[in-house]
Symmetry: C2
Subunit: 351 residues, 2 copies
């Protein structure tokens, strides 16, 4: 019998945002790896690629030409998962097992830059501010559409994350329903707010700042941290210090502080394995259902798959799919490693 | 305005086993793919590989030699995610945000066959019966340990599913707590049973057999089907027709019928893209907490990642991680395609 040591002993941690547990096996980081290696592209990209359907001036699959855009550029996804058609539907309440409902929505693509070869960590802060402003505009425009109650802004970066084009871009899927993960988060935020009259993340960020060990970056308005309950090896979350329910409530100063922390965090990511670091990121914020949402607190998740190197990722497979998410390195250790990364991008580092 | 057509229009379906929705975009199956291709190994494997740490007689990482086993062979994982140590722990209930608990458990590896080159679809039914009997024995032995309340039997097959050794094998992670996915399932099964005095899956299987369109294989005791709410392109579930709460309650006839449907389903999988079809599979059954579980109904999930071919998988990334699972082909279409596959393994087919 020994006393519990959270840095060494297998344990479960609780995620109060979605009410789920994660299994942490700190000792397992050292097991050898003989499995699949990812391929990394080291080819350097041109500033403009005539074959890229996202570059300015080029023609897309549907025959439409992109404008000669100078900042970010938004268009409706040519192969959208959601459609705008209004569908007549009578709910069949007898169906215990076959419950289905049509879903109305819009999928858009957001090009982050006219440059084919730049990713967030290599862009100027002012360019990233432009992206933030584009997200604000899209959240407003899409959110104003009567049947749109949720606007999901996200980015898949890297081929290992299903991204099929290196041109820097993200997506927005806006729809009638709150998607499953957002609904879970909504329920947790709501019950915490109803009880405490403060947002869950307002109090969580304060608690994390007091402890310090999971903080990666802090500036005046935002914190980037590895959540206590993170599932991916280098998962992080950017949270606003103030209780802001949506991106359109940012002050000009906050827009700029957010752009800065986005750049700094993605630089640290790239520096970790000296590679363009793959991830899926996404913003969770208030629904656009026309109601006030004081319980909502702006945050952005980063779920990067890499575990040990630029080519060895964490597989969320058998046990994780049937049982629960499992991690081999503690969030505290990951935060420490990320904190230690240089603030200058490795490509620009003086050798 | 048009009437809802579940075969064509984007919609959401509800999964009553875990209380979550999935977004279905039937029209999206046709989008072009320019992204990552998986590599497939076409090298033919030897019957015995002197370098394989799972083959009979070979030495494992910890210096122990495997016996010259003839059927299946079970050993404790040398790099276990769980440990058997008893840990002293006082719960700190003040921690709203930093909730953690030590977790006690055992991880085992189950070699399915002494042959390095055989997978389930290529084994004899009698060999698969042996595997089922091994699972029964492990469920009993592990379940009898006082602190073990859940026994998770699973298999990761293929390097794309994080499997690092082609020698046919699965794993068992047994632990004190009900893992997240199992707990969700447990709650749904329990509330259905309390209300109806029948198991949810007993009624679901009957409803599916009546409809027919999602059935892949049926025999006297088991059904293999694509669940109405499946998230992976070719996801299936093997369910017992009778309400059996755990694998140790199988009759001898059921053991044999289960072995048969396992072989037939995995043959169809291999035939789909003429490749050794990757997947994670896992058995969900009653907890081993010493109580009776009439609400539990034995079922086995298959989560295969491939979408279009042996090299193009479905990526569950940005929207799926932040929003909810999304699929591009309807479960009915997938079931039809699987049903059409030959019952003879492509390697043995007369050309
Ligand atoms: O134990 P293995 O086969 O080395 O590891 C594999 O299965 C485990 C259980 O699903 C996962 O946690 C690992 O990420 C995966 O690579
Ligand atoms: O829309 P894309 O970039 O072609 O597709 C990518 O992102 C989508 C949204 O996360 C996923 O559904 C796809 O599986 C993935 O390949």
């Amino acid at each position: 019998m020994k006393n519990f040591d959270i840095n060494e002993d297998p344990h479960r941690r609780f995620n109060p945002l979605i009410n789920e547990w994660v299994l942490v096996s700190p000792h397992r980081a050292k097991r050898p790896w003989q499995g699949q290696n990812e391929t990394i592209s080291t080819e350097s990209l041109p500033k403009h690629d005539p074959e890229c359907y996202l570059c300015p001036g080029n023609v897309r699959a549907n025959g439409v030409s992109n404008p000669a855009y100078k900042n970010s550029f938004v268009f409706d996804n040519d192969f959208a998962a959601l459609k705008q058609d209004e569908i007549i539907f009578e709910e069949d309440i007898k169906h215990t097992f076959f419950k289905a409902k049509p879903e109305q929505g819009i999928s858009r693509v957001v090009c982050f830059s006219p440059r084919h070869d730049l990713t967030l960590p290599e862009m100027e802060v002012s360019d990233i501010e432009n992206i933030v402003k584009t997200w604000q505009k899209e959240y407003t425009d899409l959110g104003n559409i009567k049947y749109i109650n949720h606007v999901q802004i996200f980015e898949n970066k890297g081929s290992v994350m299903g991204c099929s084009n290196p041109h820097p871009h993200g997506q927005i899927w806006a729809q009638s329903s709150l998607p499953t993960q957002v609904e879970k988060t909504h329920n947790s935020l709501k019950s915490y707010f109803d009880k405490n009259q403060r947002t869950l993340l307002e109090d969580y960020v304060q608690a994390e700042l007091k402890v310090g060990s999971r903080i990666v970056i802090e500036n005046e308005h935002f914190v980037a941290l590895v959540p206590f309950w993170a599932i991916w090896p280098y998962e992080t979350m950017i949270v606003s210090k103030r209780a802001i329910s949506k991106i359109t409530d940012f002050t000009a100063e906050e827009v700029s502080a957010y752009a800065k922390i986005l750049k700094q965090l993605t630089i640290k990511y790239d520096n970790l394995f000296n590679t363009s670091f793959p991830y899926s990121s996404g913003i969770h914020q208030a629904p656009t259902d026309g109601f006030d949402h004081p319980e909502w607190h702006f945050h952005m998740h980063f779920y990067p798959p890499l575990l040990r190197s630029a080519t060895v990722k964490k597989f969320m497979v058998g046990y994780e799919m049937m049982g629960e998410s499992q991690r081999d390195i503690t969030p505290e250790k990951s935060a420490e490693i990320l904190r230690q990364q240089a603030d200058v991008h490795y490509k620009n580092a003086v050798k």
